[in-house]
Amino acid sequence: MVSQLNPAWQRKSAASSRLAEISARFPDATQAATQGKNDVCRAIPFLLDTPEQHWITDELSHILTERGHPCTLCPPGEAHRIEHSSGEVQTGTTSAGNEYCLLAVPCPVTLLKSGIDHVVLLVPASLDGIRTAYQRIKLFSQHGTPEIGIVLVGPRDQHAAWRYFRKLAVATLRYLDVPLLNLGFLPEQIGPGQDAEASHRHNFLARISERLLHSGFYSTLTITRP
């Protein structure tokens, strides 16, 4: 029997029309080059459900650095535009810079303005949490859908995480035609500042970082520094 993945669990391929939509949001590709110092980096934007969740991006940043992928946190206001090469967004191993840059953003509008084409949603494992995440994805889908990865925060176990993810992914596929990428989960037992759970927490975050790296889940952004 040939196993076939439900499209909900597969990554959406980068359609040229969608890339064109994203490109159109950047009126002047030479503008950033005239302002300050520009760095090209692999940016992974995280849309937080609450600002308190930024410990997740903090620790992921450390873990990526530990694993030999220099990584910094970046304020969203600094990320000006996607660096295009021959009209294509650079992902995977074709990026110019090797440095990763995590953008922790609590407001979806900030991301819409940044024109990113990948985003990780940190979704609380609750009915309200996935409903709000769905609405956020719906908002993105009205402005040129980026690739969307999901990290469930606070499920009881893997089984519960899978149920929440499935509920959300089926809805986005059914009503918005948007597939989601499952990047993992952080169970309820782990959280910031709990030293006893540090290694446990590290393992879950390391798994998420592996999936991010393995799937080439980033946008190549030009960061303008003053």
Partner: protein, 188 residues
């Protein structure tokens, strides 16, 4: 000793800035530390950490209170969004996750400004007066309180955390669910 007090004409922005730097204890409490302006914020406010390492943004204008208020609100949103990075830049905050407070200082506030206080518990308004006392320049900061007219409305309204405001605003712009979508999300 006889006190000779006179009012002084409106100072320029730099003068007011330096006077406010000297009055941070009065604004943010004893033990407040000024955070070096390493980041560019709209309106060039003053950023402090109070004694509890709570970030405090002081937005001020010598004349235009509306500009000070709007710049302050914009700054507080930027600060809120960039809190992880702020924590990296300013080690003295010691990775605090405290929501930022906003202090707006101007010469005069427009009618209705105190009503905004009722909606934003993290906001403080100060009216400044510049005086000379026996020839020495002195800054007098007058803390604006909620007027009685706004108090009952505040008591009946649900309390909102200042930190929750940007989050609330971000949720307000989310598109509504259709009937089918709402029904789908009724249960797991």
């Amino acid at each position: 000793m006889q006190l000779n007090i006179e009012s002084v004409k409106t100072p320029d922005r730099e003068r007011l800035h330096s006077l406010l730097i000297g009055a941070t204890d009065q604004i943010a409490g004893t033990g407040a530390n000024i955070l070096e302006p390493r980041l560019r914020w709209d309106g060039q406010p003053i950023l402090l950490a109070d004694a509890n390492l709570h970030p405090v943004l002081i937005s001020f204008e010598p004349e235009h209170s509306e500009v000070a208020l709007l710049n302050g609100l914009r700054g507080i949103e930027q600060l809120h969004n960039a809190l992880p990075w702020i924590n990296q830049v300013y080690e003295s905050l010691q990775q605090q996750q405290q929501p930022p407070k906003l202090v707006v200082i101007a010469k005069e506030f427009p009618p209705g400004a105190t009503a905004v206080l009722g909606l934003c518990p993290g906001l403080s308004l100060y009216r400044y007066h510049l005086l000379t006392v026996n020839g020495e320049i002195a800054l007098w900061l007058e803390h604006l309180e909620l007027t009685p007219a706004t108090l009952p409305a505040q008591e009946s309204a649900p309390q909102k955390d200042a930190a929750a405001l940007p989050q609330q605003a971000s949720n307000d712009i989310l598109p509504p669910l259709s009937e089918a979508e709402a029904a789908y999300f009724q249960q797991l």
